[in-house]
């Protein structure tokens, strides 16, 4: 009798867990893709617009409720994801190394850009970042300048760090020439009948310094 009662209790707990799990799974199902015209930013534009150009590690995903009070959260529009992220290395030399920021990414589990998957915890990227603003109200939240074009995967080959434009694989070398985002002399990686454009992170660091120096001279 007692065992039966226990069994029923266990079953009830399992049942409730099942309902909770299945409803959350349905909530996070991809409903479709965000569609919009992306701005075209040259490397110089991206450099100027970016307050931070940094290797960033995603620490945790923030709930919308945690972030909603910020004016940069646009009118309850729920198409964004927010993360707590760690600045691993700031390439623009703004002394942000080791600091935490709140990062906004366009898209969430339900709605996202097709070539721009939602970040996951522990992933590390090179990002061009600036502070978000809505109706000229500047927030403490950072967004990615250039969106997909400002997001780079970081990969290591032979103990050197390379950056690769995220979600972008090209069918031909000509395409890469057109879409050379950083203006750096890219290395071409060919696999799976697709081309990828990658560059050394160290080169980027020097290029940023040089470009800023040139800007100062003017």
């Amino acid at each position: 009798m007692v065992y039966l009662k226990k069994l029923i209790n266990i079953l009830c707990v399992c049942f409730i867990s099942f309902i909770v799990c299945s409803s959350s799974e349905q909530d996070t199902k991809l409903e479709g893709y965000l569609e919009g015209l992306m701005p075209v930013l040259s490397y110089e534009d991206m450099l100027q617009e970016s307050e931070l150009i940094a290797e960033v590690k995603i620490l945790k995903k923030l709930s919308i409720a945690e972030i909603k009070k910020d004016p940069a959260y646009y009118n309850g529009w729920d198409g964004n994801s927010f993360f707590e992220a760690l600045i691993v290395e700031d390439y623009k030399n703004t002394q942000m190394n080791g600091q935490k920021i709140v990062l906004k990414q366009l898209g969430n589990e339900k709605w996202r850009y097709e070539n721009h998957p939602i970040f996951s915890v522990d992933e590390q990227f090179l990002l061009f970042l600036n502070k978000a603003s809505v109706n000229n109200t500047i927030s403490s939240i950072y967004y990615i300048v250039g969106f997909m074009d400002g997001t780079f995967d970081i990969e290591e080959y032979e103990s050197k760090k390379y950056a690769k434009n995220r979600g972008r694989e090209f069918n031909s070398l000509d395409e890469i020439k057109v879409k050379n985002i950083t203006g750096l002399k890219d290395t071409i990686k060919y696999s799976n009948k697709k081309y990828q454009s990658i560059f050394l992170l160290n080169d980027l660091k020097y290029k940023i310094k040089d470009t800023l120096k040139d800007g100062d001279k003017k």
Binding site: M1, L4, K5, L7, I8, L11, C12, C14, F15, F18, I19, S22, Q26, K29, L30, E31, G32, Y33, L34, E35, G36, L37, M38, P39, V40, A72, Y74, W77, D78, G79, N80, K104, L106, K110, W111, E114, N115, N130, A132, S133, V134, N135, N136, Y143, F147, N171, S172, E175, V178, K193
Partner: protein
């Protein structure tokens, strides 16, 4: 007394198990629905459509402006509308819009925003409403003055009209293009060399929204023959209506199990008994929700 209680508990357990089974089975049905699949396959031919995502049912539509939109932005949007209204396919007009007042219902509502975290403009799908077939009943389009007021947009004649035409393309059901399609309106950045719908954009639009504006859009969800994987090109060879002759390839980078027929020479009842299927007009493009046949599985089968 004890026996009766035991029976009661057994019945309760049985009920819970039955209930869980029903719920579980229901969720399988939900996830198995073909509407969960996004088709992305036609980029190589210059247009790509959203058959299973939000789109519109014809070329006849309406729009209105949010009350805060200024006249200059209204004119941009009207310019975008004009670009679509002046398009023809086979000599017939493909689109017609009615401008409504802010108080009236309209399929599109245009908003003006100022937000540096978003793109130049976008069809706001998370805030759109659709019917059971994913056809828009309401689609907000937001124009971002953060970009559109910059000199390279504002002071370049026609550029912001082009931005609006691109977003209206999304409303009809055209997807952004990423590959070698910078000369199409639906190129994903504002650097397209085509500021009006190109012939490929028009073809995509008439496929997704109806062959001509007088026809309603329908499409076939299952047509398992007339397509086979081509292991050399990693694409699918698609057969035409007549004589099962291959007419081209459906490149399906993201969702290999799906194929797509884009031939436009099949505007009549097509007997494809040789291929094992028939089709009826007015489909120009027909989505082929075929079973998963990959090159690997084909090789295994042939071995």
């Amino acid at each position: 007394m004890v026996i009766r209680n035991e029976k009661k508990y057994r019945r309760s357990i049985l009920l819970i198990i039955v209930f869980i089974s029903i719920i579980n089975f229901g969720s399988i049905l939900v996830y198995g629905h073909s509407g969960d699949i996004t088709v992305n396959y036609a980029e190589k031919i210059g247009w790509n459509i959203k058959e299973y995502e939000y789109h519109f049912s014809s070329g006849n539509s309406s729009y209105k402006f949010d009350s805060s939109v200024i006249d200059r932005y209204k004119d941009y949007f009207r310019g975008g509308v004009d670009k679509w209204e002046s398009c023809t396919f086979d000599g017939a007009s493909i689109a017609s819009f009615v401008e409504k007042s802010a108080q009236e219902n309209a399929y599109i509502e245009m908003f003006q925003i100022n937000d540096n975290t978003k793109g130049v403009a976008y069809a706001d799908n998370p805030n759109a409403t659709v019917d059971g077939n994913n056809l828009y009943t309401y689609c907000p389009i937001r124009l971002n003055e953060y970009y559109m007021d910059k000199p390279e947009y504002k002071d370049t004649t026609g550029k912001n009209d082009y931005v609006c035409a691109h977003e209206i393309g999304h409303f009809f059901g055209l997807k952004d293009l990423y590959d070698d399609n910078q000369d199409k309106l639906m190129w994903y950045t504002s650097a397209s060399s085509s500021w009006s719908p190109s012939s490929a954009d028009i073809k995509g639009m008439v496929v997704i929204s109806g062959y001509y504006i007088s026809r309603s859009h329908t499409f076939t969800e299952s047509w398992s023959l007339g397509i086979e994987p081509d292991c050399e090109t990693e694409a699918y060879r698609v057969y035409s209506c007549n004589n099962c002759i291959p007419v081209g390839y459906s490149y399906n980078v993201y969702y290999p199990p799906l194929g797509h027929l884009w031939t436009d020479d099949c505007d009549s009842v097509c007997d494809r008994s040789g291929c094992g299927a028939t089709r009826t007009p007015p489909h120009v493009g027909v989505h082929l929700a075929m079973n998963t046949v990959t090159c690997a599985s084909l090789a295994e089968h042939q071995a």
